[in-house]
């Protein structure tokens, strides 16, 4: 009997919560096919079988590997795919998931659908953005196994009481070795993972004004900082914060765009956000066409008022 294999993402021994959404998607696919969901962690980590089971997995396979190597992970996944007779393999479309997904497909000599935002469980047609979100393709994976990575914030973990049945499996050896994983300072979630993003553009006026944006982010727990390409190219903010076609694509619950005009490359990276707030002094700025709420005004003046209102 076939199964759906879903890959758990871990780092420094801890589960990355974003991958539980992928477990939830695997549950929907498995229910449509009438088969089991097997969750696999490719490196040693502290994983609660009730959390993974609650998100939708029937079984939890763990390894005792202490390597974070992507090639070893891909080799383990490819072997387990064969051993469990999986015909669907799902990963989270994180930096790590995007790294491993094509390797698994190559090892299995099959295709993959990257960064999917939807899956039709009856036809197994995946929807995925192209040109940074300017259009969407509906695709079918050809080959023995459908491998796919799923974007965060488009799927949800199942909400059930179930402890996944745990077993240990051997891991494969690594070619490239991860020698260090150093946490970046700041303490805010990465812009690609945050459920609320506060982003700034040229209209912020200067690098020094970023304190105004940070004050708003401080007033909203769990928010991350984003930036337009112009701001990153000017050296005001690091590239890791860039949102857009040559940066990160985000789809948070709330995206606050301060002093961002809405160039097409930027819109491509954030237009699937649930709620978009635009603050811009130019009433004709393209960002307003996509905004849920807009304030026509200088971001430098509006942001302190916003920070103050948020803390009321």
């Amino acid at each position: 009997m076939s199964s759906v294999l879903v890959i758990l993402e871990t780092r420094n021994g801890e589960l990355r919560p974003a991958c539980l959404e992928t477990v939830g998607a695997a549950r929907l696919v498995a229910d449509a096919k009438g088969c089991n969901v097997i969750a696999l962690a490719t490196e040693s980590a502290n994983i609660d079988a009730a959390v993974v089971g609650g998100a939708g997995a029937d079984q939890l396979m763990v390894t005792s590997a202490d390597s974070h190597s992507a090639d070893a992970a891909a080799a383990t996944i490819a072997r387990i795919t064969g051993e469990t007779d999986a015909d669907v393999v799902l990963l989270a479309a994180t930096v790590r998931g995007r790294d491993i997904t094509p390797r698994v497909a190559a090892l299995l000599d099959t295709g993959f659908a990257a960064d999917c935002t939807a899956v039709d469980t009856s036809s197994m047609v995946f929807t995925r953005p192209i040109c940074g979100g300017k259009a969407f393709n509906n695709v079918r994976v050809n080959g023995p196994v459908a491998v796919a990575s799923l974007r965060s914030n488009f799927f949800a973990p199942a909400n059930r009481e179930h402890a996944a049945e745990v077993s240990e499996v051997p891991s494969e050896t690594a070619k490239a070795q991860v020698s260090e994983i150093a946490a970046q300072s700041g303490g805010r979630p990465d812009v690609a993972e945050a459920s609320i993003v506060v982003a700034g553009g040229r209209g912020m006026g200067s690098e020094e004004n970023w304190g105004l944006l940070e004050a708003v982010a401080d007033a909203i727990p769990g928010s991350g900082l984003g930036a337009s390409r112009a701001v990153v190219d000017s050296g005001w903010r690091p590239h890791s914060e860039q949102v857009g076609q040559t940066g990160k694509t985000v789809s948070p619950e709330l995206y606050i765009a301060a002093g961002i005009s809405g160039a097409i490359q930027h819109l491509a990276g954030m237009r699937s956000s649930k709620v978009i707030v635009a603050i811009n002094k130019d009433a004709d700025a393209p960002i307003f066409k996509h905004a849920t709420y807009g304030i026509v005004g200088d971001a430098v003046e509006v942001l302190p008022e916003l920070a103050s209102e948020l803390t009321k």
Partner: protein
């Protein structure tokens, strides 16, 4: 290190020549607004350019050749003849040679299929370093670099922002969400390049003139069965119309009580 060893007179001078391949794809410009016609992407009105991330791959090849002291940078594209223009640009930037892996239906190939074709063509040659953009900005699959490396059985480090190579050992840094990883591997190795790795140089007039005389090899390849079928293409879902609010107080009220996102 699988480097070609050239023996020159005097015989005791052994020279390590680093063989570098930088892969480029021609893509619609990021400033272009794409059209959809009959549920298919229509790029006939688009300007095209070298995939921005591939410029980092070309630049890194030139830099690593300089560091190694001797080497060849070959710029490679899988496309029809149209991409000769982009390959000439890579040559003008400083690449030594160009290789067009040619099939008239190349544009239909997904990343897994492209990786299969490229691995087949490159696997027959000597190589030390394969450099790719971390993704193409058109189909955005992040898949060709790791796919080629996996098929060739060599290590691959993706989304690299810092790269140093010494004595056949590769040390790279990459940003993951909220952390920076340091990854090590041995040559031969594949790298996918992220913004921040370098500042790509612009072709000089001298470079453009020199490029005209550099070799551009073209080989015809068969197209394997596609690993991904695109059934249809659609525009992004339309967003409901928004509204202008007067001030921060009204905005916070709307976010809390209407949209309920705070």
């Amino acid at each position: 290190m699988v480097a070609r060893v050239e023996c020159r007179a005097p015989i005791n001078t052994i020279h390590l020549v680093m063989e570098i391949f930088s892969f480029v794809k021609r893509v619609p410009s990021t400033t272009a607004n794409v059209e959809i016609k009959d549920q298919q992407l229509d790029t006939s009105g688009c300007e095209f350019e070298i995939n921005p991330y591939d410029l980092f791959a070309i630049e890194e090849g030139l830099r690593q050749k300089e560091v190694a002291g001797a080497g060849n940078v070959t710029s490679v594209s899988f496309d029809d003849d149209t991409s000769q223009k982009e390959l000439r640009t890579a040559l003008a930037m400083g690449a030594d040679a160009a290789l067009l892996i040619k099939n008239d239906a190349a544009a239909t190939a997904d990343a897994a299929t492209t990786a299969k074709v490229l691995a087949g063509a490159i696997g027959e040659r000597n190589f030390d370093l394969l450099l790719f953009g971390k993704q193409a900005v058109d189909r955005g699959q992040h898949g060709v670099g790791p796919g080629v490396a996996t098929r060739l059985g060599v290590p691959c480090i993706t989304e690299v922002i810092s790269l140093s190579i010494a004595d056949g050992q590769v040390t790279a840094q990459r940003d993951v969400e909220g952390a920076t990883e340091t990854v090590t591997a041995s040559l031969p190795c594949a790298i996918t390049c992220q913004k921040g790795l370098n500042e790509p140089r612009l072709p000089t007039l001298k470079g453009i003139m020199a490029a005209k005389k550099k070799p551009l090899e073209s080989i015809d390849v068969e197209m394997p069965a596609l690993a991904l079928t695109v059934e249809s293409t659609q525009p992004p879902a339309a967003r409901p119309a928004g509204r202008i609010v007067n001030n921060a107080a009204e905005l916070v009220d709307a976010l809390r009580n209407e949209a309920k996102v705070l």
